[in-house]
């Protein structure tokens, strides 16, 4: 009696089909070996929303009776393998289905494996990944965050490359040959079978010791009983006249202490305070009310509340006043306004560099025409099937 569980942590809408294909591939391959399984997305997630972290699961058991122990659940208590096809999720994720930031490896078993598609080194990734009390393995599949399976993107074989990697790190679940059979049947593509085999051979696995990784706090939250909860579904808002950070000047919206949502973000707005005309448009239009009004009438992005949608950049009437910048350039949710107040010259220099670096990039969600993805790949000097 052995039940195996695998999760795919992914970004809403962009990777929904990818994660589904991976989990269905696992179950269909297990079927080849006479095992039974189930594949399901986490119900409380909102996988149709732009960038929202979400999860997909595959659970495989020896027979139907054994599988019943894993059915009618929202998610397994722990998983043998965690798969992440966007390395910006390694800092942790907050889905719509729970409260507060969870570590990427929160469900990963002792001696289990975290498979990440990334261009980074294991050491660089471990700066982001929460440390654990037990050892596990970190496997890296070389590659960028994949949108494979989203209809406007080209199939880059990430789904089958991950299945090949799974055969390597968890051979007890399903063997490589069964994966290859299932891939052949599902996709009718010899090239995809080759990709799975290559990935099996090339996978790099690094053991991670307890204590290795980021020391950022893990989220914990005590849920109250019904007698202690406020009745009538009431949530307290911010008191009238609440100023910037509790002061007299400016304005700050009320925000949940336990529900932040920033892990949805792959880009964040960077503000040039010196050309801001204080027109209020970013503050009015932000769907997450993430702009705080400073006592001098400027707008500071509260990056704990920002989902990175880019509406502020779109509505800002001043060229280059708000620029969306990729999350890989940041390590935390610092206040740009604080930095600007403290060190204007330093901020100016940083702003110049960071926005220049951005000028070559396109927004992660900004697909405007058919074939744009292929053009971007070509512009970046990468052909199809990069590592295959």
């Amino acid at each position: 009696m052995t039940t195996y569980a695998v999760e795919v942590v992914y970004r809403g809408v962009f990777q929904k089909t990818l994660s589904r294909n991976i989990c269905r591939g696992i179950v269909l391959a297990a079927h080849k070996e006479g095992k039974v399984g189930t594949a399901f997305g986490r119900y409380g997630d909102s996988p149709e929303r732009n960038g929202v972290p979400a999860k997909y699961f595959a659970v495989v058991a020896d027979d139907r009776i054994e599988l019943e122990e894993s059915l009618a659940k929202y998610e397994p208590k722990e998983v043998d393998v965690t798969i992440c096809a966007d390395d910006t999720l390694c800092r942790g994720l907050e889905s719509w289905g729970w409260y507060g930031l969870q570590a990427i490896n929160a469900l990963t078993k002792e001696n289990g494996t975290l498979i990440v598609t990334s261009k980074q080194t294991p050491e660089s990734l471990l700066e982001d990944i929460h440390r654990t009390d037990t050892p596990y393995n970190l496997a890296i599949l070389s590659g960028p965050a994949s949108f494979s399976g989203l209809w406007v993107y080209k199939d880059d074989h990430t789904d089958v490359r991950i299945l090949g990697a799974l055969a390597k790190v968890l051979p007890g679940l399903v063997g490589l040959e069964s994966y290859c059979q299932a891939i052949e049947e599902q996709w009718k593509s010899g090239a995809k079978v080759v990709s799975a085999r290559r990935s099996y051979e090339q996978l790099h696995v690094r053991p991670v010791e307890p204590g290795e990784g980021s020391s950022a706090p893990r989220f914990s939250f005590e849920k109250p009983g019904w007698e202690e909860m406020k009745e009538a579904l009431v949530v307290q808002g911010v008191a009238k006249g609440a100023g910037f950070r509790g002061g007299d000047g400016g304005f700050q919206a009320g925000r949940s202490e336990v529900f932040k949502k920033f892990s949805t973000r792959t880009m964040r707005p960077v503000i040039n305070f010196e050309i801001c005309t204080k027109c209020t448009l970013c503050w009015l239009q932000c769907p997450d009310t993430c702009f705080d009004v400073t006592p001098d009438g400027l707008y500071d992005v509260n990056t704990e509340a920002c989902c990175g949608c880019g509406v502020c950049e779109d509505v800002c009437p001043v060229p280059d006043c708000i620029t969306m910048v990729g999350e890989e350039h940041f390590k935390d949710n610092f206040s740009q306004y604080d930095w600007y107040q403290r060190d204007k010259e330093g901020y100016r220099q940083w702003l110049k560099g960071i926005t220049a670096a951005q000028s070559a990039q396109k927004r992660s969600h900004g697909l405007h025409h058919w074939g744009q993805y292929q053009e971007e790949l070509a512009a970046a000097g990468r052909g199809d099937n990069d590592d295959n």
Partner: protein
């Protein structure tokens, strides 16, 4: 201490059940009322608008474009602290169902009048109770009245109970279409000053939507929260029992008229055979009780005034001493156990662990507003009497007054 210089008065007037509820709206000094026409409820909105035109009531009278909006508007008005009144009938009530469900979920003490009406199609104006009963599980306080006087009294009690912070649940007063909504009887209408002593102002406190009290209501929640919120509604409904008793005590102190909180017992004390029902069915059944009593038969009638919260203690106390119980439903529940109506199931459930469990029989009567005549009322007592003699429940549900075979 002040000496009482003037005894507040009640004035007798010849008014319909609908007008009685409209008068209660004026006496309760409601803030917001919304309307959308459907018979028989529409008579209430006509009387309320007349009271406003006559200067006897000052309130927002909003004619909505549908029942859904009608109930949404009072829901929001109630959230900002307005005393509200609303109502509908039959499929109109059903069209508002989404708003009706969330009004209870958000714990908003809207008071509604349901002029009971059959559900279309086919189009029918007559009385059936399935409209109001459809919300029986949602957290609405549900009461059925049987006279114009009771309609007025119950409306005042409804606001007091619903708006009590221990409860904060909406309340629907069911009034049988035609027999109550459209029939005029002498009703004692109390002085407004008297009502003010009975009915305190609606204070929503920390739950009130107001710029000085910035709150969000109705958040999105998941499986981690909703069960606790449902439990809170359950606790509120349980507390409502005591609050109803308190309100009836206060009613007697202020108005000098004694009301039994949950049920009306009619010659049940020594009765061998007891029929149970709600609403205006009480009239023909009570007549039949008197006639059969005159013939020496020990029969009685138990009328449930409140359906939610369900008066389980009264039902057990009164019915467990009977030799047979017949439950009359002016509603249906197709495919249910024994194919009886809703009330029958509830009474059976309440009696399951009663001290003594009497044999039972179920009746469906008066559907589509059909009259329950004396022969029909007597027929029900006859069938129930057979059950009493046999000592065993009869699981046939008898359709009383239907043309054709029983089954």
């Amino acid at each position: 201490m002040t000496t009482r210089t003037q005894t507040p008065v009640e004035r007798e007037e010849l008014i319909s059940g609908s007008e009685a509820i409209a008068r209660a709206c004026a006496l309760a000094d409601i803030d917001v009322v919304t309307a959308y026409p459907i018979r028989p409820y529409d008579t209430v909105m006509q009387f309320v608008s007349k009271l406003i035109a006559d200067g006897e009531l000052k309130c927002e009278f909003i004619i909505a474009e549908s029942e859904h909006s009608q109930f949404e508007i009072v829901k929001h008005a109630s959230a900002v602290g307005a005393r509200t009144f609303v109502g509908s009938s039959g499929v109109g009530w059903f069209y508002a169902m989404e708003a009706i469900a969330v009004t209870a979920g958000l714990r908003l003490p809207v008071v509604a009048m349901v002029g009971n009406r059959a559900l279309d199609d086919p189009g029918a104006f007559g009385c059936e109770h399935n409209d109001a009963l459809a919300v029986r599980d949602l957290g609405w306080l549900l009461t059925w009245v049987s006279s114009g006087q009771e309609a007025l009294d119950t409306a005042l009690i409804a606001w007091r109970v619903a708006e009590d912070p221990r409860v904060f649940l909406p309340c629907a007063i069911s009034a049988d279409g035609a027999f109550l909504t459209h029939a005029q009887q002498m009703v004692r209408v109390p002085d407004k000053g008297l009502v003010e002593r009975f009915l305190p102002p609606y204070r929503r406190g920390e739950f009130q939507l107001h710029p000085d009290n910035p709150i969000t209501i109705a958040p999105q929640v998941n499986e981690d929260w909703l069960m606790e919120m449902r439990k809170q509604s359950d606790a509120a409904m349980r507390r409502a029992r005591g609050v109803i008793v308190e309100a009836c005590d206060a009613f007697e102190r202020v108005f000098g008229r004694k009301l039994t909180p949950f049920v009306e017992e009619y010659m049940t004390e020594d009765a061998d055979t007891i029929l149970v029902g709600m609403g205006t069915l009480a009239m023909p059944i009570k007549v039949a009780v008197r006639r059969l009593r005159a013939q020496g038969q020990k029969v009685g009638f138990l009328r449930l005034k409140w359906f939610r919260p369900f008066p389980v203690e009264d039902v057990q106390r009164v019915l467990s001493r009977a030799k047979a119980v017949g439950v009359i439903d002016r509603d249906y529940s197709f495919g249910s156990p024994f194919h009886s109506g809703v009330l029958s199931h509830e009474v059976r459930s309440a009696l399951y662990d009663a001290a003594a469990r009497p044999p039972m029989v179920s009746f469906v009567a008066g559907l589509g507003g059909r009259e329950v005549t004396q022969p029909l009322a007597t027929e029900m007592f006859t069938i129930a009497g057979q059950v009493a003699r046999s000592g065993r429940s009869d699981n046939e549900t008898y359709w009383i007054g239907v043309r054709g075979k029983q089954s």
